[in-house]
């Protein structure tokens, strides 16, 4: 059963300027016997400040809060990018991260090659990609453009392709930063349906958003964050 649970989760970002990233500074620090003590650990920013929550199967969670409240950091922690600095975070189930749809895609490659790149990054075996490739192309409505290098695409086409790839394979847990809106009027209706379908197949959704309206429409639980802590949960 898919579930997410965080226990007193703290995430600190180290902030490096060019001097603290350099070796010289570290060596001098060691040589001076830590006299400049306030400098030794560098500065860090506490992006997530000791939050606890658990998300069960079937929950559609809307993450809200102003810029810098820690929403994106939390999503990345859920995606496994940032390990907890303190506390614990448990994520059970496969994760589809829709944080960066065109991750790994490259303008020099054709649309078709980019489908393989994007899928392989999601951990899909090649044989399975081959089976789904036609469906992906068909949905993206790119037609013969699929054989052209992606740098020739308009930004709309670009988005249509990456959207089609990323929503082709369902996962237990879906992470999203803002609700995706893709393409012109026609396509966006189609995309909306596909995304809704995609989320229906998942067991947990975590959606970070600024739009109360969107969150009310989709989510059954709202977590409001501020300065890295949870202000309101429910």
């Amino acid at each position: 059963m898919s579930m997410i649970s965080a226990e007193n989760l703290i995430i600190d970002y180290p902030i490096f300027d060019s001097s603290s990233r350099s070796l010289k500074k570290t060596i001098i620090r060691a040589a001076t016997g830590g006299r400049i003590a306030n400098d030794t650990r560098g500065i860090s920013v506490r992006a997530i400040d000791g939050i606890s929550f658990s998300i069960e199967h079937g929950e559609r969670v809307g993450l809200m809060g102003s810029n810098g409240a820690g929403k994106s950091t939390l999503l990345r922690a859920l995606a496994g990018v940032y390990a907890p600095t303190y506390g614990s975070l448990l994520v059970n189930g496969s994760v589809a991260s829709l944080l960066d749809l065109s991750l790994g895609m490259d303008g020099e490659f054709t649309g078709l090659e980019n489908i393989f790149i994007r899928c392989v990054l999601m951990g899909i075996p090649r044989s399975v990609i081959k089976k789904h490739v036609d469906e992906i192309i068909e949905f993206s409505e790119l037609g013969d453009y699929i054989k052209m290098p992606m740098r020739t695409y308009s930004s709309g086409m670009h988005l249509r392709l990456s959207f089609s790839v990323c929503t082709a394979f369902p996962a237990d847990i879906v992470l999203m930063d803002e609700w995706l809106a893709v393409g012109d009027a026609d396509f966006s209706k189609k995309a909306e349906n596909r995304l809704t379908e995609f989320i229906k197949k998942s067991s947990i959704l975590v959606l970070a958003s600024h739009s109360m309206e969107q969150v009310n429409k989709i989510c059954n639980r709202i977590i409001i964050m501020e300065h890295g802590s949870i202000l309101k949960d429910g």
Partner: protein, 263 residues
């Protein structure tokens, strides 16, 4: 079919589990670099070929050694060196180069290192054509060539371990990348590649005896040139792998979860 669950696996099993990922992406890295070029990565073969033969001719004159002896020696040494030094230099920036992936999803670090290593291995394969041609021209083919295979596998293991270590350290301390580059440039001249060990004639032979790169190169160069590598090179090689493995494990244990924060 749905997205497979991202169970945490060790760094070594990850190489098998994520085979598809590093294999395809490493291959595409090459494809991308040589897009829209007619002969693609064979430019590497061509440029190395020209370089090796020009320098081979010139330095065989300078050192007054026969071209039959010097050119194959230099060609093999130089091509193996190119592979090793490029991998070591690029390992420093591997995580920085694949930052966009590391910042978006959790993939074990060894997968990125394998992508880079595979990438350089493909380029080495293109250069290796020159080795084959040179060995054929100078009639150096002998059974000892088979000994080069296990030797080369040891080199790959060693490079993998060093790359993990340097990748982690250089992500944290960006200056080390430059230090490594300077060091690699310098060590080239202290390693018998462009010159033969016998020109030292016993004087200052420590320059090569205590130079790890001498052993690392000699272990594949000598079998390719028809001489079984001396046991001393195998001992050195295994020792380096042992040391590198201990250090790689230490760095992974301590810092692997920090790398994404440092990017």
């Amino acid at each position: 079919m749905s997205v497979p669950e991202n169970k945490t696996v060790g760094e070594i099993p990850a190489i098998v589990k994520y085979f598809n990922m590093w294999f395809l992406l490493g291959w595409y890295d090459i494809k991308q670099r040589y897009r829209r070029s007619l002969i693609g990565p064979f430019w590497i073969t061509l440029s190395t070929g020209v370089m090796v033969s020009a320098i081979g001719f010139m330095f065989s004159n300078i050192f007054k050694s026969s071209i039959q002896e010097f050119l194959p020696y230099f060609a093999v040494g130089q091509i193996v060196w190119l592979f090793i030094s490029t991998q070591i230099n690029e390992s420093c920036v591997t995580f920085i180069e694949y930052k966009s992936i590391i910042k978006q999803m959790s993939v074990p670090l060894s997968v990125h290192i394998m992508r880079k290593l595979w990438n350089n291995l493909i380029l080495f394969g293109h250069n290796f054509l020159i080795v084959i041609i040179v060995l054929l021209i100078f009639n150096k083919i002998s059974w000892t060539i088979f000994l080069a295979v296990p030797a080369f596998i040891l080199i790959l293991i060693l490079l993998f371990l060093i790359s993990i270590m340097l990748g982690i350290v250089c992500t944290r301390f960006r200056d080390i990348t430059q230090i490594v580059a300077v060091f690699m440039q310098l060590i080239f001249f202290f390693t018998p590649i462009l010159w033969m060990k016998k020109v030292l004639a016993g004087r200052n032979s420590w320059v090569s005896d205590f130079n790890p790169f001498y052993h690392i190169i000699e272990i594949v160069r000598s079998p390719l040139l028809g001489v079984a590598p001396s046991w001393i090179h195998w001992v050195h090689m295994l020792a380096y792998i042992g040391i590198a493995a201990v250090m790689a494990v230490f760095f992974l244990k301590k810092f692997k979860l920090r790398v994404s924060y440092w990017l």
